[in-house]
Symmetry: none
Amino acid sequence: MSLPQAAARYLQVKDFILERIAGGTLRAGERVPSENELTRTLTVSRMTANRALRELAADGVLVRVAGVGTFVAEQRVHAHPLEVRNIADEIRSRGHEYRVKVLALESVSASRELAERCGVKMGAQLDYSLLTHFADAAPLQVEERYVNPQVAPGYLRNDFSRTTPHEFLIRVAPLQRAEHIVRALVPERRIRRLLRLEPGEACLLIMRRTFSHGRIASVADLYHPGSRYELAANCQPR
Amino acid sequence: MSLPQAAARYLQVKDFILERIAGGTLRAGERVPSENELTRTLTVSRMTANRALRELAADGVLVRVAGVGTFVAEQRVHAHPLEVRNIADEIRSRGHEYRVKVLALESVSASRELAERCGVKMGAQLDYSLLTHFADAAPLQVEERYVNPQVAPGYLRNDFSRTTPHEFLIRVAPLQRAEHIVRALVPERRIRRLLRLEPGEACLLIMRRTFSHGRIASVADLYHPGSRYELAANCQPR
DNA sequence: ACCCTGGACCTGTATAGACAACTAGCTCCC
DNA sequence: GGGAGCTAGTTGTCTATACAGGTCCAGGGT
């Protein structure tokens, strides 16, 4: 029986910055408040502000120049092999119209199983979303996602019609590593209906965990209709 | 005209740890000196030691457990993204007995469709094999493969009980590049029976093309039972 | 017109001290 | 014998303070 532990102050500072970037108040190239300004406005010590800015810089979110200031980094493209690409781009690049439907968007308390998968304690709050991505009129992906707000804050306030979860996460919690497990299955009824699967149609499930700041930023189950989706991957051995 | 700037002390501490890991003094799972120990032995402040260990943990080199200590992280497997590993090794490494059954092994004439997929002219001769790979008694992969004898000769004479197609091809036609397409489906009856699928069970299909000497060496369809097989892939962006 | 020097402000680093939360092991008491 | 509670050690965080070095600009001297 304990009060929800207040987030560490350096995390609050990071959130302060990340929210302003995600919300558009701070744009690429712009100057973010200096350590001393943060010390005054957020009443934290300079070392705490320093840690926040330093970690954001290490993650590539900010760029720091000694003697000058700290700036929002230019957006960098994260195209690495087997990156499951942004579903919106993927759909648009094939000449279809992209549309997303938000079926759920809320904060949930982690069950034991979920907590283990997300690397948090049981009962911790996680941001949850359930989306369907459409190519023209046909559903192409059901995305069920849990986001750790400690790592990627502000997820629930994202406007998914403009920014896909993928895009949001890349911006807010720079991708360090991703883990994929791919399975084929005939899914439960809920997913079948959302994907409008034919009876007996299979489904490609990609279970994805993304890491940022050395922690799990997000856990996603991506369901795709077997008849209309395939995953391509190229390997260049070295 | 300045003396070579001494490295920051937290960097010296990081090096101290990294050198001991590289040199074998510290092995995976072993405990590294605590912050207080480093404070004493290296005469740095605890915050400096803390920063060094914290950053190494963020990089995945160390694992820290509050109240317990700091440990060298277990070696991360650096599997090539979506490299489909040798199925025999994969089965054996999970503690199962590997067995293969050769269902067909012959030379065939390429149909129009097949010729296109294999990058040869219609009617060209291709080596064909149909194998089932077993883990203990259960089929884990049905492998249907076409090999271009111009690129990888001698395929039909291979002893598959000793050398998997994968191993053979790697030896005969050095792998230059691989192309994968992954699909989920409920397969045709022939595959269902070979994989002993439950009614309505899905199947993970990996369609693989390997390139050698700039040409397509082999085209393979790898069918896996959805309930007993999953594909793992990790991405380390750089 | 040019230089150059100070000061203001910034990041980068280092330290000492403090408190919290957690863990493992020990002791003590029942 | 076993459970409760204490304790030492560990990580995690926060603060106040200090100094070094980089950058930029304004103002003054040449």
